[in-house]
């Protein structure tokens, strides 16, 4: 499907071919930077809730392609505070910019924005629903580490750990991986397990999902260990949270018998779930993963603005 002028709201809107195209263009832009590609274009970043990585990496991506950026990073400084509707804010922003990147605390906000916008909307996170550019950069990172992912020649084992019930990055990456030759392992605290519907989707595609008991087991059996943060508000009992938090802490000792090629990813911010001694190991890959946000977001901007087809 043509990317020029298209909105990027949900992983549901992206086919396998779309994902492969994004990965391939991101690779080209990383290898051969094009500092003037988006010269003359303006991106509006409408961040109705705080974000560090997503906003900074979109702004860096646009700047490094020669484009310019306007926007806000705090809804309190906008007319939303005065009661302006989201639709009106979008209609206003489209008069000024060529593309809108937005984050909003409510699920479905980016989809609503597409109903009134004549310029492409890129979803930088809508509540607990979607964060498609994070999934693209996760996929790009995995493919850079294991290029056999996209040609399906070798089976890759990906383990997901942490809050698998509510974590939007887990859900989106899980769905994206179902396009490829993978085996999936999961490990989650009681009550935060992967919803059954995801396992059913994988099974329907012939992909096995196995539950493992310990982080060490997950690390030893996988090529990619995708860690996520546990959120205290998901636990009704703070004592239970403290208990689970300590049992979901990956440290360097647990990686002693892991494959040499194992890489640990995390959408960040990490809090307690990865001890800092893991940072010193060759397995830690979460910071380079965040860095991959630049070429991936450059690819998306160039595609929706019609500068690369």
């Amino acid at each position: 499907m043509e990317f020029n002028g298209r909105h990027i709201v949900s992983l549901r809107d992206l086919s396998k071919e779309d994902l492969l195209k994004i990965l391939s263009i991101a690779k080209n832009l990383e290898e051969k930077p094009q500092p003037d590609l988006l010269s003359g274009f303006l991106m509006a970043t409408l961040f109705f809730e705080p974000s560090t990585r997503t906003r900074l990496s979109f702004e860096a991506a646009m700047s490094r392609l020669g484009g310019r950026v306007i926007g806000f990073a705090d809804a309190n400084s906008t007319s939303q505070k005065k009661g302006e509707s989201l639709a009106d804010t979008i209609r206003m922003a489209e008069q000024y910019a060529d593309v809108i990147v937005m984050r909003h605390p409510h699920d479905g906000a980016a989809r609503l924005a597409t109903e009134v916008s004549g310029i492409p909307i890129i979803n930088g996170g809508d509540g607990s629903n979607q964060h498609p550019t994070q999934t693209c950069l996760d996929l790009y990172t995995i493919n850079k580490l294991f290029p056999n992912l996209i040609d399906d020649s070798d089976q890759l084992t990906v383990a997901f750990a942490g809050d698998l019930r509510y974590g939007r990055t887990v859900h989106s990456l899980f769905e994206a991986l179902l396009h490829f030759n993978v085996k999936i392992l999961t490990i989650a605290p009681k009550g935060l397990e992967l919803p059954e519907s995801f396992t059913q989707k994988a099974t329907a595609k012939g992909i096995t999902v196995t539950v493992v008991e310990t982080l060490q087991e997950a690390a030893e059996q996988s090529d990619i260990l995708y860690m996520t943060r546990l959120q205290e508000e998901r636990f009704p009992d703070p004592v239970e949270f403290d208990h689970v938090k300590s049992s979901y802490r990956l440290n360097a000792r647990m990686l002693k018998n892991a494959k040499e090629s194992l890489r640990i990813l995390h959408p960040l911010p990490r809090v307690n779930e990865i001890a800092t001694d893991v940072d010193e190991t060759e397995h830690a890959h979460y910071f380079p993963q965040a860095g991959n946000g630049i070429p991936v977001r450059q690819a998306l901007l160039a595609l929706v603005l019609g500068k690369i087809s």
Binding site: A87, H106, D107, L112, G127
Partner: protein, 150 residues
């Protein structure tokens, strides 16, 4: 029809009879479908020929519009609609499930943007039996009859 059969709900000369409603949704359906001046008869927990409890609503003097049919499809997709003229059933039909339900229900996800902004809701049908719909905006799925009508 047996001559001895006792009519449990008043007969109507002209109008619409909605039959085979789930008993638990009958009152809700009557409240949603009724216009202020409508003459309505409601029966609940009748036993159908198949021995299943059901509800019946009779609306005198009018047929349902498209909006009402969509609301009914969401609440009670298994119901049947009979059109009555001169005390006779002139047509009997099952409810047809549309591809999507536009602006008739409220999203049950409290964090859905549609609950904060003045906008049209849309639910895409992803399964017909049992009816499962997905909010076009927040992408959450719900059982059709669990949604609150607008």
């Amino acid at each position: 029809m047996s001559a001895e059969r006792t009519r449990q709900v008043e007969a109507i000369a002209h109008g619409t009879v909605i039959d085979h409603l789930p008993p638990e949704h009958t009152l809700k359906a009557a409240t949603v479908l009724a216009l202020p001046d409508d003459q309505i008869f409601i029966g609940m927990n009748f036993i159908s020929k198949k021995g299943v409890a059901k509800g019946v609503i009779k609306i005198a003097g009018r047929e349902l519009n498209q909006m009402s049919l969509s609301q009914l499809a969401l609440m009670a997709p298994e119901a049947t609609i009979n059109i009555i003229r001169d005390y006779k059933v002139v047509s009997k039909q099952l409810i047809s499930i549309p591809k999507s339900f536009d602006n008739i229900a409220k999203c049950s996800n409290p964090n859905c943007i549609t609950n904060f902004q003045n906008c049209i809701t849309k639910f895409e049908v992803i399964e017909k039996k049992p009816l499962v719909v997905r909010c076009f905006h927040c992408e959450r799925s719900f059982q059709g009859d669990s949604l609150h009508l607008r």
